[in-house]
């Protein structure tokens, strides 16, 4: 129970007025950059680093953590309201959240996202406090073959985002896998499908693809339908807040989302996107309201939102215990530590306990602040939907373009955004699901490089995939997930015949 004492002393550091102020600035900045597509927490921390050079290390690191948590929060707002995920980790939220917003249930969607993020952030931060030393050993033992097996599980569960037609879903997924091949191949250093365009060497940016497909595509589609049938958007239908039913349907997904997000976030190559999709597909399987999925099911917002916030706490596990940065933002925070001559890792807990525990304690505080900040704003945010459609979508196009340009100042990036926007429009027009494209772009390159790394290390022996216990277990889970639906269907038919 040593952790309790340490946490208590950390709290005494975190509630100093200056540190509270830093946490507040952090969460405000984080929410703001999370809302803007393209500008993420990593960029913000990078730009702030030189400014904070002369500040107190504790305060500025607390601020960076606030930005990180805030960014995970803010991304969901635009995803729900205008179908524009601010971060790629908010994409799963957009799937159901935007449908809810269009049906006048934007209020409950935003509320379940905010409360879910709070619940997940708090549980995951507790996990960080008490489990970090154990979890990190497991995380480090994850080898390339285990990541490949994890990707196999993720690929199977992607089918949850396919909608009604598996063929159309697979087509979308393969477009994404194709896009994932563009750029310099990490293992051989050779460029593929980049046609001599240097901007394509660095692979296709996930946010450019997501913003193009979701935001630009949506704007074009809405514009094209305007004269045929005008979509009537009601900002609020029914209660602005979550009903008793909403609470009942949200709490389990929050917990399950956390259980996906925290451990996968702690893996050095885990990331925030994969747990959101695992959570989405789990909720879709477990829900009592399968007919609502695809038309605005609250479980589909609650789970992924909890998962992406929990993964943010997860990435702090290897960062604080080993000094391993596992996300762009974590890498920036590491640079932040180093500019004060602090090296995160096994020694930091011993050398500067005040700093580490102060940081962990302020994560709890930042989480509370975010909830207080976001819940009253829900009423304001949903008014956004009352803006006349032409203005709203023109505004979305402006924000999408600015965000993309801010992240990658290059005309090629803008051309890509436009091309993806047209692709998104055509896919909507011909009823192809959009999310699998982005999932393919995220998972494809990871699965490929991890498999090739595993085979490189094993000198070409494929048995390495079955010899590792973690990998073997995950592959069995993938296999079960693949076969089970068919078996159930067959049993159902068998029973029907018997009757």
């Amino acid at each position: 129970m040593e952790a309790f004492y340490s946490l208590a002393s950390g709290l005494s550091v975190a509630i100093q007025p200056m540190n509270l102020l830093f946490a507040l600035i952090g969460v405000l900045l984080g929410t703001a950059v999370g809302v803007l597509p393209g500008i993420g927490p990593a960029l913000t921390v990078a730009l702030l680093l030189p400014i904070t050079f002369k500040l107190d290390p504790g305060g500025s690191i607390i601020m960076f953590a606030g930005i990180y948590y805030g960014g995970m929060y803010g991304g969901s707002t635009t995803a729900i309201l205008i179908n524009t995920p601010g971060e790629s980790a908010s994409m799963a939220t957009a799937l159901e959240g935007n449908k809810m917003a269009k049906a006048g249930r934007g209020g409950p969607a935003l509320a379940t996202a905010a409360i879910g993020s709070f619940v997940a952030g708090t549980i995951a931060t507790l996990g960080l406090t008490f489990l970090a030393p154990y979890l990190v050993d497991i995380a480090v033992s994850f080898g390339p073959e285990d990541y490949f097996a994890l990707m196999c599980v993720a690929f199977i569960t992607v089918s949850a985002t396919f909608g009604d037609s598996p063929v159309r879903g697979l087509t979308s997924l393969f477009i994404g896998l194709l896009l994932g091949l563009v750029g310099i191949d990490i293992l051989s250093g050779q460029s593929r499908l980049s046609f001599g365009i240097p901007e394509l060497y660095d692979n296709i940016e996930v946010t450019t693809l997501a913003v193009g497909l979701f935001a630009v595509g949506e704007a074009l589609y809405v514009a094209s339908r305007r004269h045929i049938e005008e979509e009537k958007l009601e900002p609020v239908r029914g209660s602005l807040w979550m009903t008793k039913e909403d609470w009942k349907r949200s709490w389990k997904p929050w917990i399950r989302g956390t259980l996906f997000g925290f451990p996968i976030g702690a893996l050095p190559a885990g990331g925030a996107e994969i747990p959101t999709f695992l959570s989405y597909s789990t909720e879709k399987r477990l829900t009592k309201h399968p007919e609502e999925f695809g038309h605005g099911a609250i479980e589909g917002v609650a789970g992924p939102e909890a998962a992406n916030n929990a993964s943010a706490a997860g990435t702090l596990v290897p960062l604080l215990t080993l000094g391993l940065p596992t996300s762009a933002t974590a890498a920036m925070m590491l640079a932040g530590f180093q500019q004060y001559g602090l090296n995160p890792g096994p020694l930091l807990f011993a050398e500067r306990p005040d700093l580490v525990w102060g940081l962990i304690a302020s994560l709890f505080i930042a989480n509370g602040m975010l909830l207080v900040l976001n819940l009253p704003l829900v009423g304001l945010w949903v008014r956004l939907l009352a803006i006349p459609q032409p203005w709203l979508y023109a505004g979305i196009l402006v924000f999408a373009t600015i965000g993309t340009i801010a992240a990658n100042p290059s005309p090629v990036e803008l051309i890509m955004l436009t091309v993806f926007g047209v692709l998104g429009f055509l896919m909507r027009r011909f009823d192809f699901p959009i999310a699998p494209v982005v999932v393919g772009l995220i998972l494809g390159p990871v699965a490929e490089s991890q498999l090739r790394r595993a085979l490189s290390i094993s000198l070409g022996d494929p048995m390495v995939l079955l010899e590792s216990p973690i990998s073997a277990t995950l592959l069995v889970i993938a296999l079960i997930a693949l076969i089970l639906p068919f078996v159930m269907k067959g049993l159902g038919r068998f029973k029907a015949v018997e009757d």
Partner: protein
């Protein structure tokens, strides 16, 4: 947007020109530094540290940092050579990684087209093994590689980068065929470090800063640094002192656009030299753990050409560059 930025730059240039007429003595009042990488990486941090030192020491009135990320700097250098020709207020941060990236990307723009100003910092590569590895020193590692280069797996940064080149040079110095090395590139420093800590690979290679805290905590064993002689911050003799003829450093430098006059070149070189001598820069070096490697003028230009030639040989030998 790029049009807008261009016109903004032109505006800034015009303003600088006017300011130049008024205060004839201060030539370098407004500088622009390009970091040909995304915010946060080593080049970006170098550019922003220069900004900090140059303005705080009063050497430049204002310094703008612009990021032009992509393809190991290939996009940044293309912009420098094509758009900033003759601009005496523009600098670009670059480093050893760019030498390799330009070669592997078959970039039409080469470093010959820029005006070298000065080398600023250097970081030596470190070779580490997991703490429970049977390999104790550079001789053991060399023997293992000589026996079968494919069985020794290396974890490091991107293919064709300084880590990869150093691993190939180590194999060559150990008397093995460098084309046969089993080098496994990882995208982030964190992932490679996890693979080494988890005992998935034989050895890891990267800048010493990436490994320092793990070595001190006893989780990794340092085999040696790629410096000529043992450096003050480690207890292990350098790899060269252990009898393996390998010396390589990951340096960072600044270059200017082509077509600037001799006066402009001198003014930029003077500004950088003043910055290197300032106490602000020395403080930054200490805080970031960077080693000062200041070298300017013809000595730097010649050193740069030698590095390009050696890198081309290595990358051709490992098959990343087709000759």
């Amino acid at each position: 947007m790029s049009q807008l930025r261009k016109s903004l730059w032109r505006g800034a240039l015009a303003a600088a020109a006017v300011a130049g007429f008024v205060t004839t003595a201060a030539a370098q009042t407004d500088l622009k530094i390009m970091a040909p990488a995304a915010p946060g990486g080593g080049w970006d941090q170098t550019a922003r540290s220069m900004q900090q030192a140059l303005t705080q020491a009063g050497i430049a009135k204002s310094v703008q940092v612009a990021n032009v990320p992509g393809a190991g700097g290939s996009i940044g250098i293309a912009q420098l050579v094509n758009n900033s020709k003759g601009d005496g207020n523009q600098l670009m941060v670059m480093g050893y990684v760019m030498v390799g990236a330009l070669l592997t990307n078959k970039s039409p723009i080469t470093l010959d087209q820029t005006t070298p100003i000065a080398r600023l910092t250097t970081e030596y590569e470190a070779i580490v093994v997991p703490a429970d590895s049977p390999i104790k020193n550079a001789k053991d590692l060399a023997a293992a590689i000589k026996a079968d280069p494919a069985k020794v797996t290396w974890a490091g940064g991107s293919a064709g980068g300084v880590d990869h080149i150093a691993a190939a040079l180590f194999a060559k110095a150990a008397g093995a065929d460098p084309t046969k090395i089993n080098y496994i590139p990882f995208s982030g420093g964190g992932e490679a470090l996890a693979a080494i800590l988890g005992g998935k690979v034989t050895a890891g290679i990267s800048g010493y800063g990436e490994f320092e805290s793990q070595v001190k905590a006893g989780k990794l064993r340092l085999i040696g640094l790629t410096s000529a002689t043992k450096t003050a911050n480690v207890d292990v003799p350098s790899i060269k002192e252990q009898g393996i003829d390998l010396e390589i450093a990951n340096w960072r430098a600044v270059v200017a656009p082509p077509g600037i006059s001799a006066d402009q070149k001198k003014a930029l070189t003077d500004a950088v030299e003043k910055m290197v001598q300032s106490k602000e820069w020395q403080e930054i070096l200490k805080a970031k753990g960077w080693e000062n490697a200041y070298l300017s003028g013809d000595a730097f230009a010649k050193g740069l050409n030698d590095e390009i030639a050696r890198t081309k040989d290595v990358l051709t030998a490992v098959g990343l560059v087709k000759s």
